[in-house]
Symmetry: C2
Subunit: 348 residues, 2 copies
Amino acid sequence: MKKSPTLVDVAKLANTSKATAARVFSRSKSANVRQETKARILEAADKLGYSPNLSAASLRSKKTYLIALCIHDITNPSSPSLIRGIQDELAQHGYDLVVFNSDWDPNKEKKNLRAVVRNQLDGLILQDPSDELDVSELPDLPSVILTSNEVFSTVRNTVSTDTVGGVRKALTYLHSMGHDRIGILLGGSVSQITNRKRAYLDFYKSAGLKVEDRLIVDVPFKTRASDTFVMAKELIVDLMRSPQRPSAIFASNDMLGLAALQMAQIEGLQVPRDLSVVGMDDLFSAESASPALTSVSKHRFQVGAQAARNLLNQINSEHSMEKGPINELVECTLVVRDSSGPIAEVDV
Amino acid sequence: MKKSPTLVDVAKLANTSKATAARVFSRSKSANVRQETKARILEAADKLGYSPNLSAASLRSKKTYLIALCIHDITNPSSPSLIRGIQDELAQHGYDLVVFNSDWDPNKEKKNLRAVVRNQLDGLILQDPSDELDVSELPDLPSVILTSNEVFSTVRNTVSTDTVGGVRKALTYLHSMGHDRIGILLGGSVSQITNRKRAYLDFYKSAGLKVEDRLIVDVPFKTRASDTFVMAKELIVDLMRSPQRPSAIFASNDMLGLAALQMAQIEGLQVPRDLSVVGMDDLFSAESASPALTSVSKHRFQVGAQAARNLLNQINSEHSMEKGPINELVECTLVVRDSSGPIAEVDV
DNA sequence: ATGAAAGCGCTAACAG
DNA sequence: CTGTTAGCGCTTTCAT
């Protein structure tokens, strides 16, 4: 573990000043160094195995080229594609990503935020901040907020997923297939539940259908996905065994949809003949299910990429926030697979 | 965006020296400050909204409290639990995690490694380094290497998954259920394929069974999981339609197992009555499949946690590597679900 | 228990 | 195009 060489060492060996050597490794555009000198410096650096010390650089320049992503839980199946969308975009601009989990805990959330500023990270992407968090008093750094509904902020840039529109698309599709008694499986955070429930009620109203409370089921979420899954199945089986069971089920996320698929099989219901199932998230698990699960895609990868682009723009243009925040909305798309279809002929 | 307060500002307001103030925020044990002074400093800091600048701290102390994880692809379904295992362990010790993707590209891998040293990260967890990478010339920092086989290093600490043992467990189980013609689905990297194939052949030999080449199928991996999935299904259907189809299939990863499940359903084969299927990885997709997929768990979460612990030990004990590297092996476990069972009665 | 002083390695003016 | 200089904000001896 011998001390690693510094810029001075390189400069000395290359017979130039520290400053010139620095320019060769600098990210800033104005790196005006003669080819010859540059070559000499690079050679010296190579010989010494020099690597710039970014701690020192950022102390001076106030830039770490590190971005923070604060999400609830990386273990959530839809996190990876979001992250990848962000990373791919960032990588193109030489930024790396630090990922924090909040586990839906406002305290951890705050703690993470503090770590973000301590570490001098250059930007922040924050997923669905908890209500306890006052967005207006977020640390003062470029940021974009990811929300799962059309919640706009007058303070910060946002990228939102039009989940309400997604629910509508799923229901519209199911209705167009002849289903008029559609069960809905709700779960997740309070706002998620209320939003999607409202979308469901709105749709029923506008389609002139009669709402049946029995068809609306809330699945309380547990910390571990497996636990939620087990719980979901118990509730779903009730729905399926009820005398007047729905001909279709819309699950507000794929885990619930998958649970429905599994219970249908166990209960001896043929999908989609006896029951159509539509999920939401379009996880790989949906594609790989048997039968493959029809699902509403939230385009997490694109959401990530868009958020990253938005953030980089902020970072690169000093006065970007002066015209007020930018609120972007990403549409959902229905991916029709084998778990859904027209309602069966009226049973004689 | 006004300049944020520094330690001197805090010290001034609290009527002490910079040094004393520093001790209050320092991580090092020897923080000997009188309660009274400490309180005063904390109060001043609070009033000013002071937050330590870690760039400055690490320039001086050579510690960033940031760890690098270099994996192939975060989008891989088994990445999240690995990451979470690492993060949970690190968080307990005040470290955060920076995640890099290599996409199985040796160039990206090297590039990431350079970023690790530039950023002065305190440690490195490296997943299955490519053959092109000479492990002995990894950057000189605490590190642990994650391998998917019992590959030991005489240079670095490793945490390995006993996948070969996992394959054996799956086959032993299937054989104990009466299956003696077991198809195997291979895929992934070259070394993964060869290792698992050898395990398969070894098992067949020791069990005194006759190897049939037709039962061994290689699924070439594509970049996108969906593409691999489609490709897999085409190859699997051949296996299922062949005159002498196997009574069981062992898939060397869950994606392949899920593909088999889906094809079985499409081909009208009842699982597990007509065909038993066992996967490997124990993804959530396995649990949520219909029927739920029996799978070999590689305990990714624990692997991550163990790697993180190993790394932290190295970091905290100067001379840890003097006694030579530590090589840990994590066993696989078979999780029996509904996709596998005894072989059907001999067909009359 | 506290303070004074000397940098860590680099960047950012500014001069030439 | 290149060199000089002055710190960035903190940690770390070394005194007191």
